[in-house]
């Protein structure tokens, strides 16, 4: 395959950039609902894309099932792309690379009998169901996926990557009369089946938390000081800031470029934020991105100053900066676009306990249900939280939604603790491309004067 693809990418003669991706996805899904096996699915999928950028026109993108007829597709693409209207685009070229990279796992789930997987999930389901009273529903969902990816491009590069991804999600619903509470948590990693073993205590905790949420009062909402736990702080930096640092948001909008001018003070001087796709063992990592550019660490914020942004070949070309290895796609169905890899707030120096000490009345917000962003506007929900009263963590509360304006909120961070950790569960969506693994990392952080939406009981 290598020699064939490398031969094909030599065809363009008029300065076109050609990229070919072939992909095989082997996957399995097991879902248990209330202890019953609701779904077991497995499958294998093959497909690919051919995309071409003509220096005088625009992009031609063709995604297809199967691996056949690639040469014909390349020929059609090269012909068709020249007929497109002028678009004024370009890509940064890079040195050719040839690499074969496969993530090593302890227990390769592709060769594990389904039986082993289902039995373990049944054990977890049992544990969760017995963990608390009032549980009206418990689900256990296991997914594994192995991607074999082959990429060749006009740089003369050829990459072969093997990416496993495995996840386990527990959901518990507790019910009392008309009040329903949902709590979910899980694990996800780039690894083998070993990742989902030994999660008995997590299964138990998920059931218990759902039960505890039934008893917790709703948070009233309003302006207050908030401490975010590492999970929520990670989501915050991903949602509120990370997306704005993806260069494709600003390449064609001069006003936005001014707003995101490098060197501009944008956050509290305590804040350092980076994105790093080259870290080992995280779900957002790989040695090269989907355009064959080496991944690396990019500091987005340093000491409160805006210092970098994330690029694909195209956005780097358009803004005359360098590609950062952040062109990623969820699968062969879509072209790579600028995405975060592993994004984090760097740890500070003070102890976690210090963050709570001088808050008279506030909120400790923990974990998340979801988050969304529309440029400077963001919103995200905590799974639950605790009141902070006179510097102490108090009663558990629920129905917490934090929202605000990015630029104002980044300035309101007045403390960053030293207890950094990564969170790997969850996926990110951009446009049509949903569920891309984008781990986030952070220590506990404190925000002053944030608008918190709660729920007043009716």
């Amino acid at each position: 395959m290598k020699s064939q693809l490398l031969e094909l990418v030599k065809i363009p003669q008029h300065g076109e950039y050609l990229e070919i991706r072939l992909e095989r996805i082997t996957s399995a899904l097991i879902r248990l609902q209330n202890g019953l096996v609701e779904k077991v699915q497995s499958g294998v999928e093959e497909g690919g894309y051919v995309r071409v950028l003509h220096p005088k026109t625009s992009w031609w993108f063709n995604t297809f099932s199967g691996w056949n007829g690639v040469r014909e597709r390349v020929e059609v693409a090269l012909h068709s792309v020249s007929l497109l209207p002028a678009g004024g685009r370009g890509v940064t070229r890079a040195e050719p690379v040839e690499a074969a990279w496969k993530c090593e796992v302890k227990e390769d789930f592709r060769y594990l009998p389904l039986d082993t997987k289902v039995k373990l999930m049944q054990e977890y389901a049992q544990i969760m169901r017995e963990s608390a009273p009032f549980l009206s529903h418990c689900s256990v969902e296991y997914r594994d996926e192995w991607r074999e990816i082959y990429i060749a491009n006009s740089d003369g590069s050829f990459l072969e990557m093997g990416k496993p991804d495995v996840s386990l999600t527990f959901v518990a619903v507790a019910r009392k009369n008309d009040r329903l509470e949902v709590y979910r948590n899980g694990v996800a990693e780039r690894g083998g089946f070993e990742v989902v073993r030994g999660q008995e205590s997590l299964a138990q905790e998920v059931g218990r938390k759902a039960g505890a949420l039934l008893e917790a009062p709703s948070f009233e909402g309003g302006m207050c000081d908030v401490v975010l736990d590492p999970v929520l702080a990670g989501v915050f930096i991903h949602e509120a800031f990370g997306h704005l640092s993806e260069a494709d948001f600003i390449t064609r909008n001069e006003k936005l470029q001014k707003m995101m001018l490098l060197g501009k003070p944008i956050a509290s001087p305590l804040l350092n934020v980076f994105d790093d796709g080259s870290l080992e063992g995280l779900r957002g990592s790989s040695p090269y991105d989907d355009e064959g550019i080496p991944t690396r660490r990019t500091y987005l914020i340093r000491n409160g100053y805006l210092t970098g942004r994330l690029h694909s070949r195209e956005t780097a070309y358009l803004m005359q900066e360098f590609p950062t290895g952040n062109a990623r796609t969820v699968s062969y169905h879509f072209p790579p676009v600028v995405r975060m890899s592993n994004t984090a707030i760097e740890e500070g120096v003070i102890d976690r306990e210090e963050l709570f000490r001088d808050i008279d009345r506030g909120l400790y917000a923990v974990e998340y249900i979801g988050g969304n962003t529309a440029l400077e506007l963001f919103t995200f929900s905590a799974a639950y939280g605790y009141r902070i009263e006179n510097g102490k963590i108090g009663e558990m509360v629920k129905d917490i939604v934090l929202s605000g304006n990015l630029f104002r909120t980044l300035m309101q961070i007045d403390a960053v603790a030293s207890d950094f950790r990564w969170t790997q569960i969850g996926g990110c969506g951009k446009g049509e491309q949903m569920g891309l693994p984008t781990p986030t990392g952070s220590p506990h952080i404190r925000l002053r004067g944030v608008l918190v939406g709660g729920h007043k009981s009716v």
């Binding site: 097991i30 609902q33 096996v37 779904k39 077991v40 699915q41 497995s42 499958g43 294998v44 999928e45 093959e46 497909g47 992009w59 031609w60 063709n62 995604t63 199967g66 792309v81 497109l84 209207p85 002028a86 004024g88 685009r89 389904l114 039986d115 009206s136 529903h137 689900s139 619903v173 008309d178 009040r179 329903l180 509470e181 949902v182 909402g221 494709d248 064609r252 909008n253 006003k255 936005l256 169905h333 249900i369 988050g371 969304n372 529309a374 440029l375 506007l377 963001f378 919103t379 995200f380 929900s381 129905d399 939604v401 929202s403 605000g404 304006n405 939406g453 709660g454 729920h455 007043k456």
Partner: protein
């Protein structure tokens, strides 16, 4: 690949093969200029089998393979499923339906798509030179085929045409983003109507105004009313009902909402993006089915699995997101019954309140209990019956089930949202607003 069903039959199994085919062309504009032309082709197969002991197997692939290998893939999985208590239906031989295929969409080429793109961009930027326009046009054909273990076969195809426009206006103090879309099964999308909506939103957003937190009447636009529908659709989902996750599970036949509120599923509505004669597991869909009638909860969405669990029959609500998935209960085409008066009248009579067009954070609260708490992405403050300007940093919270009770008026004018939900403007009073 159809031969596999002969093998299923011979092996004494029940089952169905679900085949999807997709051909799509799209153009993408970024900041008013063409960025990409894209072509997508995909065919995929999902095989579901039910063994004599009721256990289900499923295997999906997009490559052609030996029928026996395909069947073995599904059988391997069937070892682990819990028994199901439904049957794969026979397909009626006597019913006929027509495909909703518009030859004008099939024939649409890049030049035509670019022409539409250029027109929309020039119309918007001509009047508002300060804005940045991103645009997506998608046109295509999708077909689905079902074959059961009796080797009966059904096929249905429809075309689709989708236009999505995002307009961005950035100033030193503010970023405004407006989204408008039109989706339909044939080429008859009214571009002028789409342009008018965008222009209206831009005009209303000219000035930023502040509003104080408190309890206000709120008018939801057709797009905005998803705030109210989202938790309701979650509750109507048969799977959530069966699994104890639905607020509505023990309330069938009860009056829960305002008598002004009726919600129907109309699966045969011509040229909608949901229209279909049968669902993705071979059950005939209904021309009209009340989910809520005058505030009374009538029926939910059940597929074969959830229907059998709940001792209700599926009435054509088993749909698959792709060939890779087993069916899940959802709807084909929805309609909220409209009212008697124009949206302008609703607005004119509003002393003080908010118009909500889109929100951020739909579904990130406790949806099961009906709770919503979202930031208003595009909303307008109304005083003395007139829109004063756009609001920013405002949150809307409440309980959708309560809000549906508090509907005070529903407009006569409606709009198709995403080509499959016909929704009016809805006035709810009061709702909690944090600012």
């Amino acid at each position: 690949m159809f031969e596999v069903m002969g093998l299923v039959k011979k092996s004494g199994l029940r089952g169905d093969l679900f085949v999807t085919e997709l051909r799509e062309k799209s153009v993408i504009y970024e900041a008013g200029r063409l960025k990409e032309y894209s072509v997508q082709e995909e065919t995929g197969y999902g095989l579901r089998v039910i063994r004599p002991d009721g256990r289900v197997g499923f295997y999906a692939s997009n490559r052609t393979m030996e029928p026996q290998v395909f069947l073995n893939g599904a059988l391997e999985v069937s070892e682990f499923g819990d028994p199901v208590f439904f049957d794969i239906p026979s397909y009626p031989a006597f019913l006929e339906w027509k495909d909703f295929v518009d030859s004008k969409i099939e024939a649409m080429d890049i030049h035509e798509m670019v022409e539409i793109g250029e027109y929309l961009v020039s119309q918007i930027q001509g009047e508002y030179p300060e804005v940045c326009v991103d645009l997506e046009l998608r046109a295509g054909w999708e077909g689905k085929t079902l074959v059961n273990h009796h080797e009966e076969r059904m096929h249905f195809a429809r075309t689709f045409f989708r236009i999505g426009v995002t307009v961005n206006r950035t100033t030193s103090e503010d970023i405004l983003e407006i989204y408008a879309e039109r989706s339909w099964g044939n080429k008859d999308i009214n571009l002028e109507d789409l342009l008018q909506e965008i222009k209206r939103k831009l005009d209303f957003s000219k000035s930023l105004v502040k509003m104080r937190g408190g309890r206000y009447p709120v008018i939801f636009t057709p797009g905005g009313s998803l705030v109210l529908l989202y938790p309701l659709l979650y509750g109507l989902n048969g799977k959530n009902v069966v699994l104890g996750k639905s607020f509505l599970q023990d309330k069938w036949g009860k009056v829960l909402f305002s008598s002004l509120f009726s919600l129907l599923e109309t699966s045969h509505e011509p040229w909608t993006l949901g229209t279909c004669p049968f669902d993705d597991e071979g059950i005939m869909t209904q021309a009209e089915k009340f989910l809520v009638e005058n505030g009374r909860l009538e029926e939910g969405f059940f597929d074969l699995w959830s229907g059998s669990q709940a001792k209700r029959s599926s009435r054509g609500n088993g749909f698959r997101p792709s060939y890779r998935h087993l069916p899940e209960p959802t709807f084909a085409t929805l309609k909220m019954r409209s009212g008697l008066r124009d949206r302008e009248t609703l607005l004119e009579e509003l002393e003080e309140g908010l118009v909500v067009d889109s929100v951020l954070g739909l579904g990130q609260s406790n949806v099961a209990s009906g709770i919503f708490s979202c930031s208003v992405q595009l909303g307008f403050y109304v005083k003395d019956g007139e829109i004063q300007g756009r609001v920013k940093d405002v949150m809307l919270s409440g309980n959708a089930y309560q809000a549906l009770r508090d509907i005070k008026e529903i407009s006569r004018d409606t709009r198709w949202v995403h080509g499959r939900m016909l929704l009016p403007y809805v006035l709810v009073e009061p709702l909690q607003i944090e600012a």
